[in-house]
C-alpha cells in the first residue's frame, strides 16, 4: 500500500529525530524543496491519523513550552517508512532499467 506524499514526508522528517508540530511543518517544506507546504490544520489531522494507525507517537508536553508536544516514529512507523522507501527504490530501479532516467 502506497503512502501519500505528505505522510511519507512527515515520516521521513521524523526519522531524523523527534520534532514538534511546527518543526515538522518547516522541515517538510525544506525536505521537499519548498514544493510541499502543509497547513497547520492538515498537519495535525495527518498526525492524528498516523497516531491512530500506530506509525507516530506523541511525547509529553515539552518543558519550557507547555502547549507543544514532540512527535516521534514508532517501530511500526519505521518499518512502514523503510518498506515505502524500498517500494519507491524498486520503482526507480524499474524506471532506470527502462532507460527513463538516462540523460
Amino acid at each position: 500500500m502506497a503512502l501519500k506524499p505528505e505522510d511519507f514526508l512527515i515520516l521521513l522528517v521524523l526519522s531524523r529525530g523527534e520534532r514538534h508540530g511546527y518543526g515538522i511543518m518547516k522541515d517538510v517544506e525544506t525536505e521537499s524543496g519548498g514544493e510541499v507546504e502543509i497547513g497547520i490544520g492538515s498537519l495535525y489531522r495527518l498526525l492524528g491519523r498516523m497516531m491512530r494507525a500506530g506509525l507516530v507517537a506523541a511525547g509529553a508536553a515539552r518543558s519550557g513550552d507547555e502547549r507543544r508536544r514532540n512527535y516521534r516514529l514508532t517501530p511500526r512507523g519505521e518499518r512502514v517508512l523503510r518498506e515505502e522507501c524500498l517500494r519507491l527504490a524498486d520503482l526507480v530501479q524499474r524506471a532506470k532499467a527502462r532507460g527513463l532516467l538516462a540523460r
Binding site: 511546527y22 511543518m25 497547513g39 497547520i40 492538515s42 495535525y44 489531522r45 502547549r67 508536544r69
Partner: protein
C-alpha cells in the same frame, strides 16, 4: 482579530480534535504569524487566511471521517443482525420451538411481575406515602388487633408522629335516596384527621372538620368517586343535598377523587367517627384502626420505641385491660407493608418459581442452539479460517440469541397481557390494588431486561463453545465425532440442570397440592351445606333500642323458618368466615385475677343457632326464646373454652361476668357446651368462644338459613322476606356458605393453581428438552448404530443403549432436583400460609414426583431411540 478567526476555524472541527491539538495549533499559528509578519502586513494576513482555510477544511474533513468510522461500526451491528435474521429464518422449526419456549417463559415472568409491580412495588397514591404507618395493638394470640379510643388519645401524645387518624373497618349500610330503592353500600367511620394524615383532599367540596367528630355534629357524609358516578351520575349538584344512610339523614359535603380508596377499594362513603374525649368508650373495646404520619426526620424506629414505652406504661396502669400473660405491645408497620403483608410472601414465592420456568426455557434453548450447531460448525470454522476473530464470531452468535430473545420478549407481551387477565380473574378478591395491574413502563423495562438477560444466558455457552472450534479440527475429517463429545457434555449438563429445576417446581407444586387437599378436608366445626347466609344492619334511627332490634330479628327468623325448603333459621353477630372478630373482657368466677387472654371470641346468637349451623351440642342446652333480657343471664361456651377454664371439670353451672373482676355486671351462668368452630378460616385454629343471647343489642346480624335441599333458590326468598318486613332495608352478602368457604381458600387455591401451572410448564419444557437431546444423540450415532447392527447387535440392545444416555442424564437431574427440593421446600415451609398440615419433607410427594418425572423421561426419549433401532444397517451407514 486573528485569534478570533483561528478560534472560529477551529470550531468547524470536532471537539475532540480541538481538545487534542488546540494548544499546539495555537502555538504553531503564532510562530508562523510572527515569521510571516517579518515579510510585511500583507504576508501575515495571507498567512492568517490560508491557515484559517486549511483549519476549517481539515476540521470538516475530520468530522466526516469520524462520522464514517461510527457508521462503519454501526453497519457491522447491522450485518450481525442480518446474519442473525437469516440464520433464524433458515431453520424455522428451531426458531419456532425456541420462540414458543422463551415467549412462555418471559411472558409468565412478565405477568407475575406486573402483579408484583402493581401490588408490592408501586408507591401508595398518598403524599409522602413512605412516612405513613399503621398502628396495631399486638397480643401474643392476636398479633394484629384494633386500638381502643383511650389508646388512640394516648398515642396522640407520641413525639415521632406528626398526625394520627382513625377509622372503623368498612361495614354494610343501607343507602336511600329520595324516590330510589334502598341500596347496600359500604360505609366507614373516620376521624377528620384521617384525610390530613393521608394528605387527601376532596375533589369536590370538602372533607370533615374536627368538630364533626363530636357527638351530635356528624350528620355529614363524603362520597367516593365510584358511588358518585354510579348513583348520582357524576352530578356535582349532589353537594349540599341530603341522603339517608342507615335511615339517618346526612348532608353530602364532599366527593373524593377516584384514586382515594382508603381503607379499601370497596368503600362507598365516609362518615365522621364520633369521639368523646371526656368519656371515651371502654379501654377494652378495640374497635378502631389507626393510621399515622411520621414527623419529618422521625424514624419508624423512634415511633416504635416511643409506642413501646406507652405500651408498658399502660400494662402497669391498667393490669385489668392488659394482663401480663396477654403480652400486650404496639405494632407499627409502614402503611404500604401493612397493606400487602398477607400477599407479599406468596407473590415473592411465585416470582421465584416463575423465574425457574424461565431458567428451564433458557437451558432448553441453549440445548437447541447446541444441537443446531452441528450444521454450523463448518460455516463458522470457514469464517474463522478466513480471518474472523473469535470475538467477532461470539458477537455474531450472541446477536443471534439476543435477536431471538428480544423477539420472544415482544411476543411474550401479548401472552403476558392474556395471562395477566387470567391472573387477576383468578386472584382472591382481597388482594389490594389488583385492579391497577397493567403493563406500564416499569413492566416493559422488566420484560426488556429479562429478555436481554435471557438472550445472554442461553446464548453465551453455545457461542463460546462454537467459536472455540479450531478450523483444523473442524475442517478435517470426522468432525462430528471429535466435536460431538465436548458439546454433548455441555448438553447433558444443561439437560440435567433443566430436569433438576423442573423437579424442584414439581415438588413445590406437589406440596401445595397436598396441603390444599388437607386444607379443604379440615372440618370447620359446622355443616357448610346446604346453608345460605345474608347480613342485615338495622339503622338505630328506625330501631333505637335493643327490644325493637330483637323483635325485628326474631320475627324475620320466624318468617324465614316458615319458608318452604327451610329446615332451620338463626342469626349471629359474626358468622364463621366473615373475616370479623369480636371480643370482650370477662372474668371467670374463682380465677385469681383476670381470665381474658385476648383470644377468646364473643358472639351473640339467636335461639336455634347451633342446630341451624350443625354445631354439635356437647352438654347442657341451647338458648331458647325464653332467654331474653328479663331472664337470668346465660352463656354457652365452646369445648376449648371449657377446657381452658374448667379443665376436666363440669362447666355447666359455672359463672363468669363481662368486664373485669371488680365489674358490677351480673354473673352469667354456663348452660351449655358446644363444639369448636374455626371462625377465622380453615387454616386458622379454633379459638375459645362463648355465646350469649342478644344482650348487647348488636345492630348488625347475619342470618343463617339451613335448607332442606339446594340453598340457591332460597337467596331470592330471603331478600323478599326482608322486604316484606321493612322495605327500607338493604340485604348484604347474600350467598351460600359453601361459596363463602370456597372464597376463604381463594388465596391458597391461587398459589396452588399458579405453582401447578408453572410446574406443568416446566415439565413440558423438560420433556421437549429430553426429546430433543435423545433425537440429537440418535442422529449423532447413526453410523455407530449401523455398525453395531451390522456386527449383530439386537434391536433391544440398541434401544437400551440409546435410552440409557437420556435416562442417566435425567436420573442425575432428578437426583439433584430432589436434593434441591429438600432445601427449597424448607424455605417454602417458612413462607406463612403456604403449607398446611404437611411436612416439607413429605415423602409421598417426593416419590410421586420421581415417578412422574421418570415416566416423562422414558416417554420423551423412547420415540427417537425406537426409530433408530428399527433403522436398517445399510441406511444408517449411508447417513454420514
Amino acid at each position: 482579530m486573528r485569534k478570533t478567526v483561528l478560534r472560529w476555524a477551529l470550531r468547524l472541527g470536532p471537539s475532540s480534535f480541538r481538545s487534542e491539538f488546540g494548544p499546539e495549533i495555537e502555538a504553531d499559528f503564532e510562530d508562523g504569524w510572527r515569521e510571516a509578519r517579518r515579510g510585511g502586513r500583507s504576508k501575515s494576513l495571507a498567512f492568517t487566511l490560508r491557515t484559517a482555510w486549511d483549519l476549517g477544511r481539515s476540521g470538516l474533513g475530520e468530522r466526516w471521517d469520524r462520522h464514517f468510522r461510527r457508521k462503519r461500526r454501526r453497519s457491522m451491528i447491522g450485518q450481525d443482525a442480518k446474519f442473525a435474521w437469516r440464520g433464524l429464518y433458515r431453520s424455522p422449526t428451531f426458531t419456532a420451538v425456541a420462540l414458543v419456549a422463551l415467549a412462555l417463559g418471559i411472558g409468565a415472568n412478565t405477568a407475575i411481575f406486573s402483579v408484583v409491580n402493581a401490588v408490592l412495588l408501586s408507591p401508595l397514591p398518598y403524599e409522602r406515602s413512605e412516612d405513613l404507618v399503621r398502628i396495631w395493638s399486638a397480643w401474643t394470640r392476636f398479633p394484629r388487633g384494633g386500638v381502643s379510643e383511650p389508646e388512640y388519645y394516648d398515642y396522640q401524645e407520641i413525639d415521632s408522629l406528626e398526625s394520627i387518624g382513625a377509622f372503623i373497618f368498612p361495614h354494610d349500610a343501607t343507602l336511600a335516596v329520595e324516590g330510589g330503592e334502598p341500596e347496600p353500600v359500604k360505609r366507614t367511620f373516620v376521624t377528620a384527621s384521617l384525610f390530613q394524615v393521608l394528605g387527601a383532599r376532596a375533589a369536590h367540596g370538602r372533607t370533615f372538620d374536627a368538630g364533626e367528630n363530636e357527638p351530635g355534629k356528624g350528620d355529614v357524609v363524603v362520597l367516593s368517586h365510584g358511588l358518585w358516578q354510579r348513583k348520582f351520575a357524576g352530578d356535582p349538584g349532589i353537594l349540599g343535598r341530603t341522603i339517608r344512610v342507615q335511615a339517618k339523614s346526612v348532608t353530602v359535603v364532599g366527593i373524593m377523587p377516584a384514586w382515594f380508596q382508603y381503607p379499601t377499594a370497596a368503600v362507598d362513603l365516609w362518615l365522621p367517627l364520633t369521639l368523646i374525649a371526656d368519656s371515651p368508650r371502654p379501654r377494652g373495646a378495640h374497635f378502631m384502626s389507626v393510621v399515622a404520619r411520621l414527623k419529618d426526620g422521625a424514624s419508624l424506629e423512634s415511633a416504635r420505641t416511643e409506642l413501646g414505652v406507652v405500651a408498658s406504661r399502660l400494662e402497669r396502669e391498667f393490669p385489668g385491660n392488659y394482663p401480663t400473660g396477654a403480652g400486650f405491645g404496639v405494632l407499627v408497620l409502614p402503611l404500604a407493608d401493612d397493606l400487602v403483608a398477607e400477599v407479599r410472601p406468596a407473590l415473592v414465592t411465585l416470582l421465584g418459581a416463575v423465574g425457574f420456568v424461565l431458567l428451564i426455557a433458557c437451558a432448553n434453548v441453549a440445548n437447541l442452539l447446541l444441537a443446531r450447531a452441528a450444521g454450523r460448525q463448518r460455516e463458522l470454522a470457514v469464517r474463522k479460517a478466513l480471518g474472523a476473530s473469535q470475538w467477532s464470531l461470539v458477537r455474531q452468535l450472541l446477536t443471534e440469541s439476543l435477536f431471538l430473545s428480544v423477539l420472544s420478549g415482544g411476543a411474550s407481551l401479548l401472552l403476558a397481557n392474556w395471562m395477566m387477565g387470567a391472573l387477576v380473574a383468578l386472584a382472591p378478591g382481597d388482594v389490594p390494588r389488583l385492579e391497577t395491574v397493567s403493563i406500564d413502563s416499569r413492566v416493559l423495562g422488566f420484560t426488556l431486561a429479562i429478555s436481554i438477560l435471557t438472550g445472554i444466558v442461553f446464548g453465551t455457552v453455545p457461542a463460546w463453545r462454537l467459536s472455540r472450534a479450531s478450523a483444523s479440527r473442524v475442517l478435517g475429517a470426522g468432525l462430528r465425532r471429535t466435536m460431538g463429545l465436548d458439546r454433548r457434555r455441555a448438553q447433558k449438563t444443561l439437560l440435567a440442570g433443566e430436569v433438576a429445576l423442573a423437579v424442584a417446581l414439581l415438588v413445590g407444586a406437589g406440596l401445595l397440592l397436598r396441603s390444599f387437599h388437607n386444607l379443604i378436608q379440615v372440618d370447620p366445626g359446622f355443616e357448610t351445606a346446604p346453608l345460605a347466609t345474608a347480613r342485615l344492619s338495622l339503622p338505630p334511627e328506625s330501631y333505637p333500642d335493643q327490644a325493637s332490634r330483637a323483635l325485628f330479628f326474631e320475627s324475620l327468623r320466624r318468617s324465614l323458618e316458615g319458608l318452604s325448603g327451610v329446615a332451620a333459621a338463626a342469626f349471629v353477630s359474626n358468622p364463621p368466615f366473615s373475616g370479623y372478630n369480636s371480643d370482650y373482657t370477662f372474668y371467670v368466677e374463682g380465677m385469681d385475677s383476670v381470665s381474658y387472654s385476648g383470644s377468646e371470641q364473643y358472639r351473640e346468637i339467636s335461639p336455634g343457632y347451633f342446630r341451624t349451623m350443625g354445631i354439635p351440642l356437647l352438654a347442657g342446652r341451647e338458648f331458647d326464646v325464653h332467654d331474653d333480657a328479663e331472664a337470668p343471664p346465660v352463656v354457652v361456651v365452646s369445648e376449648s373454652f371449657a377446657r381452658k377454664y374448667w379443665n376436666g371439670e363440669d362447666p355447666l353451672g359455672r359463672r363468669l361476668k363481662m368486664g373485669e373482676r371488680q365489674s358490677k355486671s351480673a354473673w352469667v351462668t354456663v348452660v351449655g357446651v358446644v363444639g369448636d368452630v374455626r371462625h377465622a378460616g380453615l387454616a386458622a385454629s379454633a379459638l375459645p368462644m362463648y355465646y350469649r343471647p342478644l344482650v348487647h343489642g348488636v345492630e348488625e346480624m347475619t342470618f343463617l338459613v339451613r335448607a332442606t335441599a339446594d340453598p340457591e333458590p332460597l337467596l331470592a326468598s330471603i331478600r323478599e322476606e326482608v322486604r316484606k318486613l321493612d322495605p327500607d332495608l338493604a340485604v348484604f352478602g347474600v350467598e351460600t356458605m359453601d361459596r363463602k368457604v370456597s372464597t376463604s381458600v381463594a388465596q391458597p387455591r391461587f398459589n396452588l393453581t399458579l405453582l401447578a401451572s408453572f410446574a406443568l410448564l416446566a415439565l413440558a419444557l423438560a420433556a421437549v428438552g429430553i426429546y430433543g437431546l435423545a433425537g440429537y444423540a440418535v442422529t449423532q450415532r447413526t453410523s455407530e448404530i449401523g455398525l453395531r447392527v451390522a456386527l449383530g447387535a439386537t434391536r433391544g440392545e440398541i434401544l437400551t443403549m440409546l435410552l440409557g444416555e437420556g435416562v442417566r442424564t435425567a436420573g442425575l437431574g432428578l437426583f439433584l432436583g430432589l436434593l434441591a427440593s429438600a432445601a427449597l421446600s424448607r424455605a417454602l415451609a417458612r413462607v406463612p400460609g403456604l403449607l398446611h398440615g404437611i411436612s416439607p419433607m413429605d415423602l409421598p410427594t417426593y416419590g410421586a414426583v420421581a415417578v412422574i418425572l421418570s415416566l416423562v423421561v422414558l416417554l420423551a426419549s423412547y420415540p427417537p431411540a425406537s426409530r433408530a433401532s428399527r433403522m436398517a444397517p445399510v441406511e444408517s451407514l449411508r447417513y454420514e
